[in-house]
């Protein structure tokens, strides 16, 4: 009988920062430009050129450090990581080795209905390399230097993750946070967030980690899930057959759904790190650090948990709301009025408002919705003064004319009829005119009820209280 195993995962996430310019020169930091147009002698590593550190890169990294509860080193340095590759024009990458900007942090992720705390070993800054271009139209390879010197932060986790599901939750959380604090676009399709994965397995109940294997070339989060599951299964199979796991680096091929040996421990690079003599030590003043620390907003992972606890929202609602900085802010503004149930507000924001945002391509800000007016509208619906469908009409009108909901309701005569006698009159009329539907219902075709309610609403010009009319219809259909 085979043993039970636990998978142990550590992740190294690389996120490209969204600064205006590159990390060590004034070239534009932009994606998708024509090949070799966003580069200069500095980022192309031409002889005699020198790097100068873009301070915005430090600010963004420190911001991320605080977001992940790290200790920020007030004094840190940059180092050279030496290796040869055609996309690395200096033949070294400027990175941080033994004294990174940020250390010893953590992030809370949400898995299976509860929070789990994942350690963050360090966050450091470094420069991205260029890209090799292979194409059938020419022999050999060409190099595009546009990406050289694009600023990166590398976020290294502790080996605290125990499943591909946890790894996915961690990656989603990191992505949400970098976007929330606006340090990275984190667009996977542009390669602006990517990860290397360390995987090992150990027998259940053991407290000694197995030998870890590093996997490179994982370009999507769903790919990460597949890569982890594949690698864990591979290692377990090796162990089950009495083999041992070698410390090595493997390359993930997402199309094949397999990984392949890239280099063994013996072939591991000796990067010959040493302090970068062309750059000064990074020294950060306390006032500078506290200013950045104070600028960190409530982060999406914490907001999510709070929405569940404080507003009793379903997980789906909470995660959709916190995924957008402006939607969650708007949600909280409306909740703060205290007039309407949070779930009703959430329904509106995630329903009609999101639909209109999608249709018009406008942000919430650009839609210029008056929160107070919307609150008044939602209150009218809540108090059943107008129907939900009338509410939608009012809202569309509000966006167009900026008139108050009260005015629109009055002008369009949308006040909901909740007068029993008036409604009974409509219901009786509809029942009399639709004998076939009545028979259908009584013969078991219960969806005839929906048709009848619709007819009643139509007859009331949308103003009848649908719930009351439905009850009246039912009492007739079931009892007479």
């Amino acid at each position: 009988m085979s043993k039970e195993y636990v998978t142990v995962i550590g992740l190294e996430v690389h996120a490209e920062l969204n600064t205006q310019s590159k990390i060590y020169c004034s070239c534009k930091n932009s994606f998708g430009a024509e090949v070799n147009t966003q580069c200069c002698p500095v980022c192309m590593g031409m002889p005699g050129t020198l790097p100068t550190l873009n301070e915005q890169v430090v600010a963004s990294a420190v911001k991320m450090g605080y977001a992940l509860n790290c200790t920020i080193n007030p004094v840190s340095k940059q180092d050279r990581k030496n290796y040869f590759y055609p996309d690395l024009p200096k033949a070294y990458q400027i990175s941080q080795f033994d004294i990174p900007l940020c250390e010893n942090g953590y992030v809370d992720i949400w898995v299976d209905g509860k929070e789990k705390r994942i350690g963050v070993t360090r966050i450091h800054i470094e420069e991205d390399a260029g890209k090799l271009i292979h194409d059938n139209s020419f022999a050999g390879s060409l190099v595009d230097f546009n990406r050289c010197g694009v600023p990166l932060i590398e976020i290294v986790s502790e080996p605290d993750l125990r499943s591909s599901k946890e790894a996915k939750a961690y990656l989603d959380t990191i992505k949400a946070i970098v976007q929330y604090i606006d340090v990275s676009d984190a667009k996977m399709q542009e390669g602006s967030i990517r990860c290397d994965i360390n995987v090992s397995v150990m027998e259940k109940g053991s407290d000694t980690f197995g030998t870890r294997v590093e996997m490179k070339n994982v370009n999507t989060f769903s790919g990460a899930v597949r890569a982890i599951e594949y690698e864990a299964a591979r290692q377990i199979a090796v162990l089950e057959q009495g083999g041992t796991i070698e410390q090595e680096t493997r390359r993930w091929d997402d199309q094949k759904g397999q990984n392949f040996l890239l280099r063994s421990k013996e072939d591991a690079h000796d990067y010959r790190y040493f302090p970068e003599p062309d750059l000064q030590t990074i020294v950060l003043e306390e006032s500078y650090l506290s200013q950045i620390k104070d600028s960190i907003p409530e982060l999406p992972n914490k907001k999510f948990v709070r929405y569940l606890a404080d507003y009793d929202l379903p997980e789906d609602d909470a995660s959709l709301l916190v995924a957008s900085v402006e939607k969650s802010a708007f949600f909280e503004t409306l909740v703060a009025f205290g007039d309407v149930k949070p779930k009703s507000i959430s329904n509106w924001i995630l329903g009609d408002i999101s639909r209109i945002m999608n249709e018009t391509g406008k942000s919430l800000d650009e839609l210029e919705i008056d929160a107070k007016a919307l609150d008044a509208l939602l209150l009218m619906i809540d108090q059943k003064k107008i129907s939900n469908s009338a509410g939608k009409t009012v809202f569309e009108e509000m966006l167009k004319t900026k008139a108050s909901p009260e005015e629109i309701v009055k002008e369009k005569g949308l006040l909901q009829i909740s007068d029993t006698d008036a409604l009974q009159e409509i219901v009786d009329q509809i029942l009399a005119a639709n004998q076939k539907s009545v028979d259908d219902y009584r013969n078991g075709k219960t969806n005839a009820l929906g048709f009848l309610v619709g007819q009643c609403m139509k007859a009331s010009k949308g103003k009848g209280n649908p719930a009351m009319m439905k009850e009246m219809l039912l009492s007739y259909l079931e009892n007479q």
């Binding site: 005699g48 020198l50 030496n82 200096k90 033949a91 190099v143 040493f274 062309d278 750059l279």
Partner: protein, 487 residues
Amino acid sequence: MELYQLTAWELHQKLTTKECSAKEITQSVLGRIEQKEKEIGAYLTLTPDDALAQAKAVDQKLASEEPLSPLAGIPIAIKDNICTKGVKTTCASKILSNFVPPYDATVMEKLNGTDCVYLGKLNMDEFAMGSSTETSFFQKTHNPHNTEYVPGGSSGGSAAAVSAGEAVLALGSDTGGSIRQPSAYCGTVGLKPTYGTVSRYGLVAFASSLDQIGPIGRSVKDVALLYSAICGKDEKDTTSVRRDYPDFAKEIVPSVKGMTIGLSDEYFGEGVSDEVKSAVMKAVDALKEQGAKVVSVSLPSTDQTLAAYYIIASAEASSNLARFDGVKYGYRTKEYASLDEMYEKTRSEGFGDEVKRRIMLGTYVLSSGYYDAYYKKAKFTQKMIQEAFRNAFSSCDLILTPTAPDTAFKIGENIHDQVKMYMNDILTVTVNIAGLPALSVPCGFDTKGLPIGLQMIGPKFSEGLLFNAAACYEELLGGFSAFSALK
């Protein structure tokens, strides 16, 4: 007296009083180059047409009574590791033999503003690694005092050209003595500035934490003029220092009155020739007579410093020279079957032996498992040396030493004895390790008729003080030009 024999300051006087034109100056120096270059071999690239055009522009300014900078119309030559826009910059290496930079070094941008005249690019040891200019891929440069002898290195082309009158001033670079030692061998004045006072942007890096560009000339005032023109904070070089830089040439006061000169036994020890020792001590005595006080100071042993220097410099060089891989510019091997083979063959064929030796040494000392024993220890030694100099300068204003243990050696004499070659730097490398300024000035000739160099070392940013002391000594000797090979 021919125009090429005059100093920059003298030429500036003649220009402003219209005793001669910039064109005549440039023609005189170009004529001298034509006459001497075959036997000296100082230049790798000559740009006479550009030089004459630049001189013409200066004459036009002069004619329209526009004010001239002191370097306007002065023929200057540039070491071939300083990037010059549109002009080949080879570092005297096969691997960069076809490299034309699309940008100017910051020092060139600064000099462009002075309207000086550029003569061309000067020979050097390959990538500034060497003490004789013999490691140049292209040619040997000969000492103008005796062409059987080396001019020193690595800025051998710079010192030889200035000494021979093939340039009025030159820029060199100094990582471990590369401005001062050739200045001593050729009888010129050379300044290795305080680390961080001259931008390194556009200087092809050898050892980034030690490299400094500096001037070579035939008088203290000329060297001060060129230093003033190139120093200053540069936003493109974060190791350059922001401070007030005075007009050094203007502020020279040729005096040592009230100065305390420090002497250290460590710098007069084994290996330093008797002739050199006595010439240096004679200079010390002369300055004493001018009112200087002399004290003895303690400095760390020179062999310890030399070891630290070769570890740090080689480590940085191994990384700095990695970019010459045949991918982007420079030499690429002709035939290769794989990327690795392209790298290996390009670098094996493109670099000379001395460069390869230092790349291997540097790669070794940075390797995991050796880093602590070598690089880390060397950096620690560097801190101790800096501290020792700080202490020494609490009891003196400047320290006098010989620039090199001996005068120039014969071409080919040391080329197969690396340790002997490295010993040439033993009195100069400390200054780079400590980031200090030092000036080498002539202080006599040996019995073979070769010049002897005196090194003046000061605390950080004390260039002004060094100029004052050197100018005082220069007056005593009746001008340093007499030590050049202008005849």
